[in-house]
Each structure stands twice: as structure tokens, then as C-alpha cells.
Point group: C2
């Protein structure tokens, strides 16, 4: 008899079944409660188990079934578990109790107030990236490092560990430029414009972007209405070699995968402390091979950063930690008091981007100005423009069509330019009174656009018809909803009725 | 159009299906990803949703399915959701986004270091008891109140809130006596003996006990091998009126239901701070209507309380908070260095209890002595014995058969005495060397008994053949495994081989 009680044995073997079960990032296995593995291993519902097949292993949460939905010898996997394990239907898989999580003892020490050193944080992040932490473990780690905030040394260790567990890109150029927004502002789609300006100026800017997680659009969602974005690393390199830059979805490269896992739980808890934010942002940039990074920090009452002081503090922490990794940063505190541009939603934001790049008369000036401000900061950081002259250069490159030409070339290199779709249904939301627009709630605007169908329905969302300070008459449109189905339109209209102050008007 | 965007509408209606899905305490609903509710509500995998039917509402986590395991209009419920919602198969249920959890803003404040007042803690506990907190939210609350430990005022608020959300029993007697062990010691089954002694002395002792959660046996599991324990409140009152006491499963009465929810997550995290423990123990006792409580605090290197100092501190906190609620306590620090009695497992512990009550020659003396110590403390606390004379009185009541007679009467009143089952398979674990027993690992002993099948298989578990300090020869039995199936026996044998030091022998 084996000395190792957990040695894989035929007795612990089941047949893999793909269930078509969507559980977000969660790896789940369903087994019959009366199957021999549950009995032999003493498994009960919500046990953490280890699945093994073909040399791969996956940690999963077990749910048990009575009845005949499953065969007695089947282990039915959620989509995430199926993807990670990579087995064929019916293939044998071994199931056993998940081994104890050694790194949780460090999390427990952190809960009780001990600071963690580099090896301890490294072990935690490796377990997180390997999918060994349940959401409960993740919540404990994130809460503990919020209650007693990460200090600079811990933040550096966390950043390093997060880079280490993922891929790390490298580029031929010595100088690799990037920009990033800490988020929270609907319609703030400067990235495609900034990348076009920077690459038109000869800088290397291999931009990987995310899809929306809880917002109405991510840069990758918007860009996808203009060109293919799901490029693998080879294709991405090809585009960057040819054009100096790209705007692709980061999901095909595995940059700081632990960050994606932390973020999902942070959003559930609505907890996002400085140390975690710094490690999150910088680990992605370092892994992407960037060494000159401009950071957009929108400040406003309904933005992520609520005050200029908080913005300055965050900027200082970001710069300190970045310096430790040889990354030069420039933080730009921007106006976060209202959405940027007119459109909110993948295609609607793409139309704003196009209008700015094409110098169209209807182009939203705030989006254009923000893009030039950020591009200018990057041009100065990279030494292409002198201090104070970056924005002017950016404006010139935008005005004379060079940015637009470069953007088209990038789209072509990524697989061909597309025309964003338009939604079949449109309905205005009208002002109930006359007066001046005194407040626009970024969070409610984002929710409204999502109810209308964004980002799943690419053409859905809303267009703002007013900006802060505008004088408006009763019955005039505040915004227009765009939807692809009656149900979603009705749902968004309901929400707008229930939240009349999402655009606040003072007589 | 309704002003409330979430008003139940026919459009959000599905048909209830019972799936036979076991997910522990988790309420889960499975729906087709392409169903009209998911589309109209913009639901995605792992959304928190609110299920409504027949005036009841349940919060559940949504998982989505592709394929035809479910019909398009079906909402398939986990066992817990099914139980809570109480619908018939095929009944219409409404599904909508779960409303925002207002009390989480207090949890977030607590995460960032603010103390919580009584109303804030009350709101959190009400949401927890209503099943509105996911495990992630629970983990955040528990971690936050461990990182910055609950102070006495918060502990009192938490205790009070936990009592308030459940049922509260009241008894005719002015003095209601109870005992409780903070846990962690296998075989520590003093409760049936203590209750028999106390009620034989005329005290009122309506004891509600729990089943095992992670241990090889709870008092309710052991007692169930001796008599029925699933009595409703009316039946319980009947027993207490007739005999002065009972030993029933607490699950049929709803005492401090939030406690059960907290405990499940604490066990996953292996975090259990003083404030949480105090609120947990006392809320159950207060809700059960007890006002004189003896607390057994086993102290040992592998018990929950690791040192006498920690035990004294915990005792002081328990007594302080109990006093606030008019509950008199006596804390008894006991030897937690090794399991109590011989048996570990529901029926095997029942045999020890019977042997002690019957004054059998093979009765484990340590179990007998502990029971008399605790019963004696209760007799003194209740004023039935003078200080220092309680244990002697308890021993007398045990020795002269009064406790045994009373125990039989209680069992009869609960529905009739039973003979505990014995396991078909038995296998000894032998000493590999001769020497003295210097350490017995409580945690590994518990794991071993569980692997052998306890507590699901009532007769399974183990009997210890040695105690600390015993001299033993190589090849002599350290313990005997009891199992009901070959697989479970083999698994327990494997574990014992892999952990030769679970009983440590020094030459």
C-alpha cells in the first residue's frame, strides 16, 4: 500500500464531461454524490479538489448531484476548468482532495498584523496565479492588505511577484512607451488617439488593452469595432515591427495573470487600496515591456480618485515603485467630473475616436484635448518634445492628419479597418426642467449604458447631449439611448426614470 | 412604465426546477445563458440574483448553462435555494439582480479601520442571516474584524445582533443551566453525562447540540446513536418539562443562525479570533435561554486554545460579555493535550458515554473525571453545591446510578433509547517502536477518524489504545480503526502510514 494517501489510483478516476457551465473564472467540478470517488475520498459539497489529467492539474470546487443528470463515473467541468485542464470528452481524470495551501499561513499572519516579506508574497501570488485560492482566500488576502495597507516594500514585492508569474514581453526598441488610465470615467477612450499620435512621432507603443469587466466598454471592446484585436504575440510583434505600435486585446498574452484574479474580487468587495492599485497597474506595464509610462488619473466626485490630494499621493506612490523597476512615469491628474466625449459604449466611443482622428467638425473637443495632453506628456517623457511643448506637438500631429494616417495603417496591419455598427433603436431622455447642468453622475451613466446592452451589444450604449455648465430647456434631450432590443431599451428607460438626477439640472 | 426598474414582471419569470445540487449552504440558481431573463436583466455568470416566489425571496449566485441540460424557461435551484424558497416543481419564480448591499459600506469602513457601532453591526448581521452576503463578503467582514480585533463594545453588539436575528427560547424555570466546550478535542463527549448529572440534581438543562461540521462527531451525532435528537420545539419542551433536561439537535430551532454562517467561512480561512468566538458561543447560549453557563476551555498544543494565558484571557472576555447579558459563567480550563476517552466517532463515543454512566469497569476515567469537573462547576454556579464541593456531588450522583437512571429517562422521553451500531471492519495501527507515548496529535486523530468514515458512517472512527505517558512495545496497538467499507478503511490506513507521528513514541 502506498505511503502517500493521495497517490493517484484507478479508484479515484472519473470520465471528463464538458457541461457548458459558465461560472466566470471559477473552476467547478460536478460529481454524483454517490460516486466512488466521493465516497473513497470523503468528499463533500464545496470541498476543494485537485483534478489531474495529461500532466496538468487544476484546483476546483466540488458540487455534488443526486439523480441521473450525470453518470456515476462522470466528472462534469465548468468552462474554466475545462479550458485549464485541456482534456477530451470522456478522457480519464483523477480527483483528490486539494493539498493544504501553505501560503495561507502567511495570509493569516498578515491578518493578525505581521508585514510580509518578499518570499511570502511570492508564494501567495504563485498560488493565486495557479488558481489555488478560492474567492474566500482571495477576499481574506485583499481585506487584510487593506485593513493594514501595504507599505512600499510590500507593494514592490507584490508588483514583482505579479510580474514573475506571467509572461514578460520584450521589444527591440530601447524605449517602449505606454499610457494607462486608472479608470472610472465613462467614454474616456483616449488610448487609440494617443497611440496613433505617439507612433506617428516615431515612438514604439505596443499597447495591450482590456475588455470591460464592469464598465460599459474597455479599450479592446471599442477597438474591436474598428479592427481585429485578438492577435497572438507573433501577430502583435508583426504589427509593432511594421507600424511602431498596436492596440490589441491583452487576453491572448498572459501578462500579470494574478492581477486579473485579484481585480475580480476587489470589484465584488468594492475595495481598491493604493498599494493594490499600484501593483496592479505597474505589474501589467512592466510585464508588457514598457519603460516610459504616462498615467491618467481622473479626479472627480464620482471618479475613482476623489480629490487632488488623493491623486497627488497616488501619483507619488506610483512613481516611487515604478522607479524601483526602472520605469519612468508621468502622472497626469485630469478632470474626472463628467464623462469624456459623447459616446458611452464600444461603437459609440469608436465614433468619437474617429471624429477626433479625422478632425471632424462634430469631434468632441474634450476627448481631443485630453488625448493631446496625455500624448504630449508621453512625448516629453520620451524626450521627443521639450518640457511644455508636448501637447502642442501632439495637436499638430493630430491636426495635419498624420495621426489619422497612422491609425489607419495600424488597423490595416491588425487585419483591416472596420466600420463600427449602429444600433437599431434610439430613444432620448429629456430634461424635466430648464436650468443649468450642475452634475453628471459617472457611475449612473455607466450603469445606464450597460442596461442598454453595452458592452455585449457593441452598438448599444448612450450619447450625452449636454455637458456640465450647459443651459438647457425643459423637454430638450439630455442623452440618447442606443439599444439593439426592445427589452434592453425598456430596461434602460426604467432606470433613467428611477434616477432623474443622473444628469442634475439646477434652475 | 413603472418607475421601479426592478419591479417583477412576467418578462422575468421562469419555472422552478429542483436539480438535486448539493452546494453546502450556498444558494445557487442555474439558468440558460440564452434565456430571456439573462438577456433582459443583463445577467452574467456569478451575478448575485434575487429569486422570488410565493412571497418569499432568496439571494442566490447565478451560474449559466449552454446546451440543453435545462429548458430555456427553467431556473434550476440548489438544494439550499430550493429549501429556502419552498416552491413546487414548475412553479413560477421571478429572477432579478440582487439589490445593492447597503451594509457592505460598514464592512468597508471597518476594513479601513473604523470601529462599528451597534446599528451598523445589526444591519450587517441581519443581511448575513438573510443570506445576502456571499462568502466573499463574509470573508471580508471576518478578516477585517480579525486584523483589527473586535473590542468589547463591538463584541457585545455582535452578540446581541446574532441573538436578535434568530429564535429565542424561554423556559418556565428561573435558572437554566448549560455547558459548552469551545472545541478542538476529539472524543470530548462530556455533554450527555453532564446533562444527566445536572438534571438528576434537579437543575433545568435544555441542551441543544450541533452536528459535526469539520470534526469526526458532534454531540448531536453521538446522541443520535442513543436516542432520537431531531425534536421540534414542542417536543423538546415536553421532554424538558418531564425530565428537566434534554440533549437534542439544535438545527430544528433557529438559534443564532448568523453564527452558523460565520463559522463555515471561519473554518475555510482557519481564522477564529477571540471576539468572534465569544459572540458565537454566547449568542447561542443566550438565544437558548440559558443564564448559568459552564464553559470548557481545553488547553493544549494541538487544541484550539494553545496556552493557559490565552485561556485566561478568553475566559475573562467571555465572562465580561456574558455579564452584560445577565448570564453567569464559569470557565474551566481543562487538559487539551490528548483526546478524551477511547472512542472517536459518533457510536464509539457513545459507548464511552454509556460506560461512564453505567460505572462499567472499562469506563474511561478521564472522561468520567472531566464530566464530573464540569458538572461540579455547574452545580456550584447554580448554588446546588458549595464552592469546592460540586465535583464530589457530581461523582456521587454518577456513582450511585442516579445519572444513569436520568439519562435513560431522557432518552425514553426523546423517543426511546437505542443501541449504538458497531462497524463491520476493524484494523489496528501498531507501534513501530517501543517506548513512551509523548505526544498525540488531536488534529491528525480527528482527520484519521473522518477518513475512516465518521461522522457520516455512525459506527466508523477509531478507538485509542494508549494515552500520554504509557509505555508500549513495538507491534502493540496504538489505536484501532473502525470502518464500514474497505475503501474507507484503506484510506485511513494510508493516512496513518503517511503520518507515523500522530501518536509519537520516544524510546
Amino acid at each position: 500500500m502506498s505511503l502517500d494517501p493521495h497517490s493517484p489510483r484507478g479508484a479515484h478516476q472519473l470520465r471528463a464531461r464538458r457541461l457548458g457551465l459558465f461560472a466566470q473564472h471559477e473552476s467547478i467540478v460536478l460529481m454524483r454524490r454517490d460516486c466512488h470517488v466521493c465516497r473513497a475520498e470523503g468528499l463533500s459539497a464545496r470541498s476543494q479538489v485537485q483534478l489531474m489529467a495529461g500532466g496538468r492539474e487544476v484546483y476546483a470546487t466540488l458540487y455534488q448531484l443526486d439523480g441521473d443528470l450525470l453518470e456515476l463515473d462522470e466528472a462534469a467541468l465548468s468552462e474554466e476548468a475545462w479550458r485549464l485542464l485541456g482534456v477530451a470528452p470522456g478522457a480519464p481524470i483523477q480527483v483528490r482532495h486539494a493539498p493544504a495551501l501553505e501560503s495561507m499561513s502567511s495570509v493569516r499572519r498578515r491578518i493578525y498584523g505581521s508585514r510580509l516579506d518578499d518570499p511570502a508574497i511570492g508564494a501567495i501570488v504563485r498560488d493565486v496565479a495557479a488558481g489555488r485560492y478560492t474567492d474566500v482566500h482571495l477576499a481574506a488576502f485583499l481585506t487584510a492588505s487593506s485593513a493594514l495597507q501595504l507599505d512600499e516594500s510590500e507593494t514592490i514585492s507584490l508588483t514583482k511577484a505579479m510580474v514573475d508569474v506571467g509572461d514578460r514581453l520584450s521589444w527591440k526598441a530601447d524605449m517602449v512607451v505606454d499610457k494607462h488610465c486608472v479608470g472610472g470615467l465613462p467614454g474616456n477612450r483616449t488610448t487609440p488617439i494617443v497611440v496613433a499620435i505617439l507612433t506617428a512621432c516615431g515612438l514604439v507603443c505596443p499597447k495591450t488593452s482590456s475588455r470591460a469587466i464592469t464598465s460599459p466598454a474597455g479599450t479592446a471592446d471599442t477597438m474591436e469595432t474598428l479592427a481585429p484585436v485578438e492577435l497572438d504575440l507573433a501577430a502583435m510583434r508583426h504589427v509593432v515591427d511594421a507600424e511602431g505600435g498596436c492596440i490589441v486585446w491583452g487576453g491572448t498574452v498572459n501578462l500579470s495573470p494574478a492581477d486579473d484574479i485579484f481585480i475580480r474580487v476587489e470589484r465584488v468587495l468594492d475595495v481598491d487600496t493604493e498599494g493594490q492599485l499600484v501593483a496592479s497597474v505597474l505589474s501589467k506595464k512592466i510585464a508588457a515591456g514598457s519603460n516610459h509610462v504616462v498615467l491618467d488619473l481622473p479626479v472627480g466626485p464620482t471618479a475613482k480618485v476623489r480629490s487632488a490630494e488623493a491623486g497627488e499621493e497616488l501619483a507619488e506612490r506610483l512613481s516611487h515603485v515604478a522607479t524601483h523597476f526602472g520605469v519612468k512615469t508621468r502622472c497626469v491628474l485630469t478632470d474626472g467630473s463628467q464623462p469624456v466625449g459623447r459616446g458611452v459604449g464600444p461603437a459609440l466611443e469608436a465614433f468619437d475616436v474617429l471624429a477626433v482622428l479625422q478632425n471632424a467638425p462634430e469631434a468632441p473637443q474634450d476627448l481631443s484635448a485630453r488625448a493631446c495632453l496625455l500624448a504630449g506628456a508621453a512625448l516629453e517623457l520620451a524626450g521627443v518634445a521639450k518640457a511644455g511643448e508636448g501637447a502642442v506637438l501632439a495637436e499638430a500631429v493630430l491636426a495635419d492628419g498624420r495621426a489619422w494616417a497612422k491609425f489607419k495603417a495600424i488597423c490595416d496591419a491588425q487585419g483591416g479597418m472596420r466600420t463600427p455598427p449602429t444600433a437599431g433603436l434610439q430613444s432620448p431622455i429629456l430634461a424635466r426642467r430648464s436650468g443649468r447642468v450642475v452634475h453628471i453622475n459617472n457611475r449612473q451613466i455607466a450603469t445606464l449604458a450597460k442596461l442598454a446592452g453595452a458592452p455585449e451589444r457593441k452598438a448599444a450604449g448612450l450619447t450625452l447631449e449636454v455637458r456640465l455648465g450647459d443651459e438647457i430647456g425643459a423637454g430638450q434631450p439630455l442623452l440618447t439611448l442606443h439599444a439593439e432590443s426592445d427589452g434592453e431599451l425598456a430596461y434602460a428607460l426604467d432606470y433613467a426614470s428611477a434616477h432623474p438626477d443622473l444628469v442634475e439640472i439646477q434652475a
